[in-house]
């Protein structure tokens, strides 16, 4: 028995499939002169609970299961899927997918061999880790806490989501891999009102853990004993803090100036400005601003950027990627020098390198492609205070709402949800509407100080590419970029 029982029970037994049928299907696919083919089985349960107006007003639950079959011949890929897992669906999808082939292949699938994976998270169902009444009580407690925090808080929305997913990959190269993936997220969003002005603040987090994670104590102040509270309340406090600060925010300036980015979630800059441009598909096709530049200096000295899918319990982590390759700690940029791309099997083979465990897909109904996992920059030596003090007039941006990149020109944009003006080395007014725009390679060349305070985000990232969404992590120490365009109105 090579397939672990829980996965077999979830994915194979209901449709009366077994390993030999997967092996036979792969033989049939290989026999059709295909270079590579794989079968992806997936079953996932998803729940969401939402509180608004102080009542838990909606709850939803869904189960999705299905299979996807991909057949590759040279650079061509045929893909078909079915929303059921049984022998008939397997045969139908295989027939459709292999229609693509017209060359190559040795006509024999390798014998399936189990891939040894990491042990990064517990294979237990988060949805059942807390009773329904406790889930509801959790949302209500957060609502109460927010409303009590400040009379200016007028609306509170809290959402709790959990996913429990089983996957199995079997491929003609002999890969047989399975993974059981929990994923939870808790989010709090508040609306504050003062003198007719309204502003929102939001905060949240999660990871590949169960719901008890939200009840763990976190330190409010590292210097003070007994100043701890459960994590779910810290999300509320953060959302309230942001909304109240925004009530005082002034319009952001417009123009080019030094920018200090906070640690943690602002690593979304690296994700946009650098990460996407280092995905294997864009580089194989030569469509990335970083294509053909391995070995070159593409960022300032002192910048080391990694993508690491092996961090325990992290939102972007996976034991194996969606092609059955164990995830890795991949160094992308080392002391400013480009040393590696992120690869799936197809692009790795076509570029003559090894896959890096970055082949990911949104679901069985989507094709895998090179994607990020947890992407972050390693710490430097500067104290964040010293970095802010070094700026005469600029912006400090500790929170962002999201970003976007054009990987061909390298141009990126992202929006600060919390920002401050720096004047003569000191933080002064909070700012609203600060959008930052730049060019990936140029911005990274202008990194002049790297902080000693590396932090990863709290577990909220969703990355979209070609219409597919996957959970990711980002992180960085505080960073100073000497010149960036700030798109305010003043």
């Amino acid at each position: 028995m090579k397939i672990p029982t829980p996965v077999a029970e979830q994915l194979l037994a209901p449709g009366q499939l077994d390993e030999s049928m997967l092996q036979q299907c792969l033989h049939d696919l290989a026999g059709a002169r295909i270079d590579y083919a794989d079968i992806y089985l997936q079953s996932s349960s998803h729940e969401a609970w939402v509180l608004e107006d102080s009542i838990v007003k909606s709850g939803s639950f869904s189960i999705e299961s299905g299979l996807g079959i991909r057949a590759i011949s040279g650079e061509k890929t045929g893909f078909a899927y079915a929303d059921s897992i049984d022998p008939a669906a397997l045969t139908r999808a295989a027939q459709a997918a292999k229609g693509i082939a017209d060359q190559g292949g040795d006509g024999k699938a390798k014998v399936l061999t189990t891939v040894t994976t990491h042990d990064l998270y517990q294979p237990e169902n988060p949805l059942s880790s807390l009773s329904e009444s406790k889930k509801i009580a959790l949302l209500q407690a957060m609502d109460k806490h927010a409303r009590k925090a400040d009379p200016r808080i007028k609306e509170v929305t809290v959402s709790l989501t959990g996913v429990y997913e089983h996957i199995l990959v079997a491929a003609t190269d002999g890969t047989l891999a399975t993974d059981i993936r929990p994923l939870v997220r808790l989010n709090c969003s508040v609306l504050a009102e003062q003198n007719g002005r309204r502003e929102r603040g939001s905060s949240g987090g999660g990871g590949r853990v169960n719901y008890h994670y939200f009840f763990e104590p976190v330190w409010l102040d590292a210097n003070e004993a007994n100043s701890e509270q459960p994590r779910y309340l810290s999300f509320v406090d953060e959302a309230v803090r942001q909304a109240l600060i925004m009530l005082e925010a002034k319009p952001a300036p417009a123009g080019t100036m030094p920018v200090v980015l906070g640690n943690g979630w602002p690593g979304v800059l690296l994700h946009e400005a650098v990460g996407h441009g280092l995905e294997g598909d864009f580089n194989r096709k030569g469509s990335s601003a970083y294509a053909g530049r391995i070995g070159e200096q593409v960022a300032a000295k002192g910048c080391t950027i990694v993508d690491d899918g092996t961090l325990a319990n992290r939102r972007g982590s996976l034991q194996v990627d969606d092609e059955g390759t164990p995830t890795q700690h991949n160094v992308l940029i080392e002391d400013g020098r480009l040393v590696g791309y992120m690869q799936d099997k197809l692009n790795a083979r076509l570029m003559g390198v090894a896959p890096t465990g970055n082949g990911r897909r949104e679901s069985y109904a989507h094709l895998p492609m090179p994607r990020m996992t947890n992407t972050y920059m390693l710490a430097g030596e500067h104290h964040p205070d010293e970095m802010i003090a070094s700026v005469k007039r600029g912006i400090y941006a500790p929170q962002f709402s999201g970003g976007q990149v054009d990987i061909t020109s390298g141009k990126f944009v992202f929006s600060a949800s919390e920002a401050y003006l720096i004047e003569d080395g000191k933080l002064t007014a909070p700012l609203k509407g600060a959008t930052l725009i730049g060019n990936g390679p140029e911005a990274m060349a202008r990194v002049s100080m790297v902080g000693n305070d590396l932090a990863l985000d709290t577990g909220i990232g969703v990355c979209g590419k070609d219409g597919q969404s996957v959970p990711v992590g980002v992180g960085q120490p505080t960073l100073k970029i000497d010149a960036m365009t700030v798109g305010g109105t003043e």
Partner: protein, 465 residues
Amino acid sequence: MTEEVKLATMTAKEQLQPDLDRAVTAVEEALAQAKKAGASAAECAISHSRGLSVSTRLAEVETVEFNQDGSLGITVYRRHKDGSQSKGSASTSDLSPQAIHATVEKADAIARWTEADPAAGLADRELMAFGYKDPSLFYPAPQSPEHAAEVALACEQTMLNTDPRIVNSDGAHYSSHCGFRVYGNSHDFLGHYMSSRQSLSCMPIAKEGDAMERDYAYTIARDPSQLLAPDAVAREAVANTVARLGARSIATCSVPVIFHRDLAHHLFGQFAGAISGGNLYRKSTFLLDHLGKQVFPTWLNIHEDPLLAGGLASSPFDHEGVRTQARDIVNDGVVSSYLLTSYAARKLGMQSTGHAGGIHNWSIRADQKHTTAGLDALCQQMGTGLLVTELMGQGVNLVTGDYSRGAAGFWVENGEIQFPVTEVTVAGNLRDLFANIVAIGDDVDPRHGVLTGSVLVEKMKVAGQ
């Protein structure tokens, strides 16, 4: 010829019909189960889509994908002592009676946990689209990988051979899908309609010196005969892409801005968000209490036509079964309708406007004096300013109206394009932006649920070097 087309329609529809019949049965089954479980009300929907998409790159087929999706979603309501209801939702991709049974049970179990909400429930019975007419959204189209590949390859061939500066390609993509939507609820309303959609796009990459630029062009239509020719799509994409070469930033300034027709719909999409019920009852919009108030210039009207034949945002009923109807959204610049679901309507003490699931074909209309014949004339009218052809990022805050997005486009002087612009932002407040629209081009973009030409705005802050 007419006969052939009719025959093809029959065949394509006949292929979908058995699945539609099964879906209708599944929805009826789910509603019956919910009733049996003691639900005070229930609603159920299935959206089914099937088709294929083919990507080519450097004139070779790269991927062929076959798609088929359609899960059943049910919402079950349970009445509480005070008369209000709580609700639970569940969905399944398996339409077997056992799976439907389990799904209804799950939704019902959730409805027992969620709290009573006075605003929860189905839309009112008298709003249901009983006796609705089929909206003519289904057009037969070839659905073979060979045909799809032929179209995409033809597009890419032209794209690669039109201009020597096109050195690479992110490919061409053709997709063709058809499907249906079934919706039923415990008011004994059950409606369904079929639809189809095909699209072709391509993305060339141009290079000059070390700088690379990419852009794209696309065509989309329910009726395949309304698609632009592959050749035309390719030429537009190439023109867009090479025009970007040599782009540079500009000095920070306040100037008039034209939003090109390709993206002008975004502005009205943000307006739609600002007058939608969810944001209104959450007080999360800068257009709170703006019904009956002036938001746009007096010469601007927005009309909604949900039953436009072949319309990309047409539908005879919304996601709650509410009959859709033609209406003015903006009349002489004044907001004349909010966009409400039944839930938001109850929260606001109003009635559903049939907007569960979104808007239905808006046409943005200016009076004759403020309609400009084409983009060139609009540039002439602007004189000196920025023509925006690309927007990036999420810098729009609907709570405050604050707007700051990354932009690329062209610098215009004396009505003539001078050079391409990149790495700038355009910023302001949507309130001012809407009020300060100066003119709208007649170059209406047919590829959206919002039908508008290019939009000239009096002044915005452009941040650059």
